[in-house]
Amino acid sequence: MTQQTTSTLERPSATDQAPQAAAPPSEGFLATWRRLSLGLWLAPVGIAALIGLLYVYYQGLDLENAVRQTGSALRWDTKLWPQLVQHVQISFWATVIVIAIAVPLGIVLTRPAFRRVGPYIVAVANSGQALPAYGLLVLVAAGLGMNARAAVWAFVVYALLPVLRNTMVGLDNVDRAVIEAGRGMGMTRLQVLTRIELPLAVPVILAGVRVAMVLNIGMATLAFLIGGGALGVTIYSGIELNQNSVLIVGAVLVAIVALTFDWLGAVAERYLRPRGV
């Protein structure tokens, strides 16, 4: 009898081992790429190269002898730099407000008491995104006036959906057993939310925020339509004056801003992701 017991005790040690964390000796190229997130560190190189190219191009332009309007439109200190700052500000505030609205709303809509109204609110947010951007801008401007603040609010309506939807999906995807275990040990609903659900939903929420941010940077080029300024002014001037140099400088600057912030989002996603997940 004793012999049998010991044999059943020893045998399972093989099956009861933890999965080995060590990487296999011959790691493929893709695996190395992913493990070190090389993509994450190559992006700044690409962005820097783009900035370099734009700088060279800009220096090469003969602004002294250009048409008067072109020279004025491409002045760094009075036009490009202030527009760039405004562009970043508009996108930044739109994104911050989106987070401030969509994350709490997503939390509320995933609570049992409000779960049933969730689909309706998502439908409303969806229609916000379905509205033509121009029409939305004009509508908001009619209410808030022709300025950058109105533009920010228009973009908030526009970018609400990805963050709201990802917050809800992220929270809904948290393993029910984990929540059950937390509740079963006497965590309050609030503790389960703040200590378990939200940390576990962070990667999905961040992905939504990143989408909203890039969306906002793109949309900010339209802010000039209601007197909001930003880099759209330069791009539009390029079209109006039929000057490719102006158009290119404006468009590439927007691209640089978008790529930079997308990269920052990727870095945040990687480092704010809870360990162990």
Binding site: T8, P12, T15, G182, G184, V277
Partner: protein
């Protein structure tokens, strides 16, 4: 029943909104301090619901719930749950927290200081057979199923609750690891003496783990609640009989010890005595087999009449070697297993020095089974009389 129940359910009922039949109907149950009460029953009988009524993960719609004779039917459920360990089949470890953080979930809510929590985490890892040095800072995804469930148990023991609720804790684990975890858990329980309510759908697990078993039918009605020995010996009705399934008599042998049998002497011959003397003893006894003992009274071989007739007196080649010797702590189940393997159909019982103290024969097993059945029946007749 005793009045010092650790957990007491009085006419507890759970009725879901819009459902005409209650999920749990008029359930009264007592769990005594330090025992493992197993709730077992077919799928959908409400055993998990019943378990979750105890820590009010599901709020009862009727009846009362007592812990240590304190009515907890309406106290703050979050505070109630911090007094009760809870283990579920899916384990539900927090993936973003280390093993040590997982284990100290309840202590953290109770605001223990850091040093005490770290110490407690190490202690519990140790207790559940995991090396703290290796595991305390790991994350749940680095664990195998068996290890994860050990951590699940350690986490439930976090703040040293007196009561534990376990919902099919070993249900999702491979059979070999499951058996090991069951054995370890029983060893742990012998030391900790928690009051445990354990849910399973596996009657064998119930028999193994339970001090008492409550067999539940539809709507969590208790069909029989008793020690596994009595349930196996005397299933009160067809439902229980069906649920226990075939082999209940044999399973019942697990609860009888060889040492409790009254074994008589057995005809034997000693090494050195002539085969002729042995033959005489055997014929006088009227049995088929003779036992050969060595100088120290240790059983060596079984001999039949024709083996003895052929024997030269050295008793090495003839008959059958005695391979297994039971001691007083072995169960009749093991005895039966070895009896079926031996051609003699009997099993030798020896003391610590290996000297023969008796021979288990089929009639002994039959008598033991009969006795258990009669005892159980008498117990139920007495209950009826006193009712």
């Amino acid at each position: 029943m005793s009045s010092e129940a650790k957990i007491r359910l009085e006419h507890v009922e759970k009725r879901y909104h819009g459902s005409s039949v209650p999920a749990v109907e008029d359930l009264s149950l007592e769990v005594h301090e330090g025992e493992i009460l197993v709730l077992v029953g077919p799928s959908g009988c409400g055993k998990s619901t019943t378990l979750r009524l105890i820590n009010r993960m599901i709020e009862p719609t009727g009846g009362r719930l007592f812990l240590d004779e304190e009515d907890v039917t309406t106290v703050d459920p979050d505070h109630l749950r911090r007094r009760i360990g809870y283990v579920i089949q899916q384990i539900g470890l927090f993936p973003h927290q280390t093993i040590a953080q997982n284990i100290t979930t309840v202590p953290r809510m109770l605001k223990w200081d850091k040093a005490r929590m770290a110490e407690r985490a190490d202690e519990l890892l140790h207790l559940t057979g995991l090396d703290p040095e290796v595991y305390r800072d790991r994350y749940p995804k680095e664990l195998s199923g068996g290890q994860a469930q050990r951590v699940g148990v350690a986490r439930a023991l976090g703040a040293d609750p007196e009561i534990m609720l376990m919902d099919e804790p070993f249900g999702a684990i491979d059979p070999i690891t499951r058996e090991r975890l069951q054995n370890e858990f029983l060893r742990l329980q012998a030391e900790l003496k928690k009051t445990i309510v354990f849910v399973t759908h596996d009657i064998d697990e119930a028999i193994k783990m339970g001090d008492r078993i409550a067999i539940l039918g539809e709507r969590s009605r208790i069909m029989q609640c008793d020690t596994p020995e009595r349930i196996l010996a005397f299933p009160v009705d067809e439902f229980v009989d069906d649920f226990i399934g075939a082999g209940s008599t044999i399973k019942g042998l697990n609860f009888e010890r060889v040492g409790d049998l009254r074994l008589g002497g057995y005809p034997s011959v000693r090494l050195g005595q002539t085969p002729a003397a042995g033959l005489e003893t055997l014929r006088a006894s009227g049995r088929d087999w003779l036992l050969v003992l060595d100088e120290e009274n240790r059983p060596v071989r079984w001999m039949r009449e024709d083996d003895l007739a052929r024997s030269t007196g050295s008793y090495v080649d003839e008959g059958e070697e005695v391979r297994v010797r039971l001691d007083a702590d072995d169960t009749l189940f093991h005895s039966l297993e070895h009896m079926l393997q031996s051609s003699a159909g009997m099993c030798c019982v020896v003391d610590k020095r290996g000297a023969l103290t008796g021979v288990v024969e089929m009639t002994h097993l039959r008598r033991a089974i009969r006795r258990a059945q009669v005892e159980a029946r008498r117990h139920y007749e007495d209950l009826e009389d006193s009712a």
